[in-house]
Amino acid sequence: MIEPVQILIIHDDMSENDPLIITLKEKYGDENVKLEKRSSKGLSYIHNHLTSKLIVLLDFDLGQGEPHAPEVIEKIREETSLIYVIIITAKQFSSISHEALIKFINNEALGIIQSTADIKDVVSLVDKAAHELDTRVDCVLEQWIAKRPKEEREKPYLTTRSGETYTLDDLIIEIRKETELGQRMERGILQLAIEQLTNGDRQL
């Protein structure tokens, strides 16, 4: 079973029955769309789902005492760069401080959208994020692994020079956590794929 994309909405002024949430649930499955009104709780959810395929829809102002979007995205990036973040705001774009915008860009927000935008525009940004999640090395690898029999997945697949062994499932986690091994694997896989593509008989 391939892990589905999960969507976390961090918004202090949205209800569970909001049409945006209903539309997203319709498309991505009820159990895969979650609303968190407090950003601190949202952050701990993210912390516990670092290896999931996660898209975060993040409101800008999140109430007194709660970290606001620029801080939230910074905290997310301290842990992982694999989660896609889309900012939603009722603020006039021109009134967003430069510091906040710099934080969004430097911390790779996938998009920023006004709270009065059409649902379909928000959904299309989410779709874009979902597509990127699906075409990433870790996700494609996961799809491939998912097709292997259980015993193959559980047996050591790779042994490092220092003697540590990794199963296929372990490797996905290494890639998602962006460990040194994970990054090396990712590069290797891409290089190999390109070599295959250019050397082979050009059939996908």
Binding site: D13, D18, L20, G63, E71, Q114
Partner: protein
């Protein structure tokens, strides 16, 4: 390993020197400042910045020299550190060796390129303690400039720079930067040098003397004032008040300023340590009188009274030394002036205080410089620190307000006294006249004049009272308008959020209706759209209440108004909801305020309580009012579902609601709070009168009998 044929390397065009020097350093004063900071890092005890022939008749003979007695540099230091861009050697160690223990300030290793901003050629003469020779390196930026214009590619790293050795006394140590080839148009006027002095005098905290010292001298052969002048922060003169707060790490206690309302003076309170760690603050306040004295002495040049500066381990961190002559353009990173704009007249601004806030690297690790050196990194701790500073200034504001009141009283009583004295004078003359009728003619003009003075005085007193009323009226209008700017931001946010909600629901209808699967949602959405529109309406009404005559003040009887609201206007609603009312307004008095705002407060509190009581069987709303000192206090309570602990502050935010199911938009208590503030009052959550159930709000308005 890739074939050496197949690799590419970065190279730097000769233009790099410009990027690192004149284009990165914003102005000449900052350039000198950066170089002086390098001397600090070299453990210098003395730095001399000399200007020779830099005036307008210099004819190209201008030289600027920066000489220090620091540890100097070896050939290796120059080759492997000084001349390597971005050397990180300083970054691996945070502090220089004992006895200096200075925290390195030139962290990025580019300050040395500041010389390019000052002149086209630099001679570096350096020697280390114990060495009998000094190293002389010549860097000719003019040559770099020439090469950068050549058509062929010249690399920054390929330009040769000459060096040689000279004999030197063994006891000599330190570094001299001799900058020449200064463009003729870049004259350093006396004013420029004085500006430099002002910036340099702020480098070291006046209250955290460095040991060993770091003394900076300025020398100029063209200006007698700078014959050989030690730069030191001038002792603060003329301030009217001076306060100093500290901390106690063992007890986890931070000191803070507090205004003692009984003693009408500033006291020092102890509070638990804040998130940003312990800080010391030395603050000088200049009241109006002091400011006048100050301006007379310094001829209105008020650059020294420049707000709060932050020093880390004795060295300035902010405001960062970027020279800006126009004070209004200075960056207000602590948000002191912004807050003034958005609030009242009694607030303290940067031109009324000199504050020295001391932090240390060890105790306040979360207060970090932003990489652009223009602020600190935004984080909770820094925000808390800013709040702390503002809180200190707010205490000074209360002092300022108190002093203004005292002056008002003094003037009033002096006028009154003068009036009485004139009366006494008149009756004394009348007595003399009666006793000595012969003097009548002689005394007549005197009496006439006394009467005239009496009339003028009375007119003066009347005029003064009228002016004061007019002033209060204008101040009130102005205050409302200023808050309007804040409201505009809130309201546009509120309107957009409401519109977004309505629009998404409408869009859902448009895309999905009819569809039996969503029938329940359609019903919900239509109700929500209706309620959201009603909220929008309320928001717009609230906004419009600022338009037209509504901001005028009027006299009204508070008791009558409250009784009218509770027993007449809201009676039908209370009866329908089966709510019992207890209204006890002890004092009967008239206040001069905006009646509409006052009504808004009560109406919104009532509507808030009605919602909170929805699941209660025995519903009570209680309102108690009385005068306490110079405030009118109102307690407003209900025995409803109460406030979730921890939400006491949050409930006043716009859009905070716990009654969304009843169409609560979270606007009501926001209106209550902003209205109360517009009337110069305050609102807070008190212990519930109906505890463990219910909620009690305490609202306090200043009550000035004179108005």
């Amino acid at each position: 390993m890739p074939d050496s044929q197949n690799i590419l390397k970065w190279r730097f065009d000769v233009n790099t020197f410009r990027l690192l020097g004149r284009e990165l350093i914003t102005d000449r004063i900052t350039a000198v400042y950066e170089l002086v900071k390098n001397c600090y890092d070299a453990n210098a005890k003395k730095v001399t910045v000399s200007f020779e022939n830099v005036g307008k008749d210099a004819e190209g003979k201008a030289v600027i020299t920066i000489e220090d007695d620091g540890h100097g540099m070896s050939f290796e230091d120059i080759r492997d550190k000084w001349m390597v861009v971005g050397t990180a050697s300083k970054r691996t160690e945070l502090f220089s060796p004992a006895p200096f223990n200075r925290r390195y300030v030139g962290e990025k290793g580019i300050g040395r390129f500041a010389v390019d901003k000052l002149g086209g050629r630099v001679r570096i003469i350096t020697n280390q303690a114990g060495s009998d020779k000094r190293l002389v390196v010549v860097i000719d930026w003019d040559e770099y400039e020439r090469l950068s214009k050549e058509p062929q590619l010249e690399l920054f790293t390929d330009v040769p720079n000459d060096f040689h050795w000279e004999k030197a006394p063994v006891e000599e140590q330190g570094t001299i930067l001799e900058i020449s080839s200064i463009p003729e148009h870049e004259v350093w006027t006396d004013l420029d040098i004085r500006r430099l002095e002002r910036e340099l005098e702020k480098i070291v905290s006046p209250f955290f003397p460095l040991n060993p010292p770091f003394n900076i001298w300025i020398k100029s052969n063209e200006n007698k004032e700078f014959n050989e002048k030690l730069i030191q922060a001038e002792t603060v003169k003329f301030s009217s008040h001076e306060f100093s707060i500290g901390f106690n790490i063992e007890d986890g206690v931070q000191e803070t300023l507090a205004f003692d309302k009984d003693k009408k003076a500033i006291a020092i309170d102890k509070i638990p340590m804040k998130s940003f760690g312990p800080v010391k603050l030395h603050i000088f306040y200049f009241n109006e009188k002091a400011k006048k004295k100050y301006n007379a002495a310094y001829k209105n040049d008020d650059y020294r009274v420049d707000g709060v500066k932050i020093y880390r381990d004795g060295l300035i961190t902010t405001p960062f030394a970027e020279f800006e002559q126009n004070r209004d353009k200075k960056r207000d990173i602590l948000g002191i002036e912004k807050r003034r704009w958005s609030s009242a007249f009694d607030k303290i601004g940067t031109r009324e205080v000199i504050g020295i806030l001391e932090i240390t690297n060890d105790d306040n690790p979360e207060i970090r410089d932003a990489t652009n050196r223009q602020d600190f990194v935004d984080c909770k701790e820094y925000r808390d620190l800013k709040e702390f500073i503002i809180a200190q200034l707010n205490v000074l504001s209360e002092l300022k307000k108190h002093e203004r009141d005292v002056v008002k009283e003094e003037v009033d009583s002096a006028l009154l006294k003068a009036n009485i004295e004139i009366k006494e004078f008149e009756s004394a003359i009348a007595d003399i006249k009666r006793e000595n009728p012969t003097l009548k003619t002689a005394l007549q003009p005197l009496l006439k004049q006394a009467k005239q003075i009496d009339r003028s005085l009375k007119r003066g007193i009347q005029q003064q009272q009228k002016e004061r009323q007019e002033h209060v009226r204008k101040e009130n209008i102005y205050l409302s308008l200023m808050s309007l700017q804040d409201y505009a931001i809130h309201i546009s946010h509120a309107v957009r959020t409401a519109l977004g909600k309505v629009k998404r629901r409408a869009e859902f209808f448009k895309d999905n209706f009819p569809n039996p699967k969503y029938d329940d949602l359609f019903t919900d959405y239509s109700i929500e759209i209706y309620e959201e529109m009603a909220n929008l309406n309320r928001i717009i009404d609230f906004m419009l209440s600022y338009a037209g005559s509504n901001i005028d003040m009027e006299d009204f009887n508070v008791r009558d108004l409250l009784i009218d609201l509770f027993e007449r206007a809201y009676r039908p609603e209370f009866e329908a909801e089966n709510i019992q009312i207890q209204v006890e307004i002890k004092d009967n008095f008239i206040i001069h305020a905006n009646k509409k705002f006052f009504e808004d407060i009560i109406e919104n509190l009532i509507s808030n309580s009605v919602k909170a009581l929805r699941n209660e069987s025995n519903k009570i709303i209680k309102c108690t009012g009385f005068i306490e000192n110079d405030h009118f206090i109102l307690y407003f309570s209900d025995n409803g579902e109460g406030i979730i602990p921890g939400d006491e502050e949050k409930i006043f935010e716009m859009y905070h609601t716990t009654t969304a199911d009843l169409g609560g938009a979270g606007v009501g208590l926001y209106i209550v709070k902003t209205r109360a503030e517009s009337l110069k009052g305050s609102i807070s959550v008190d212990r519930s009168e109906f505890a463990p159930k219910g909620a009690t709000f305490k609202i306090s308005f200043p009550f000035n009998k004179e108005i």
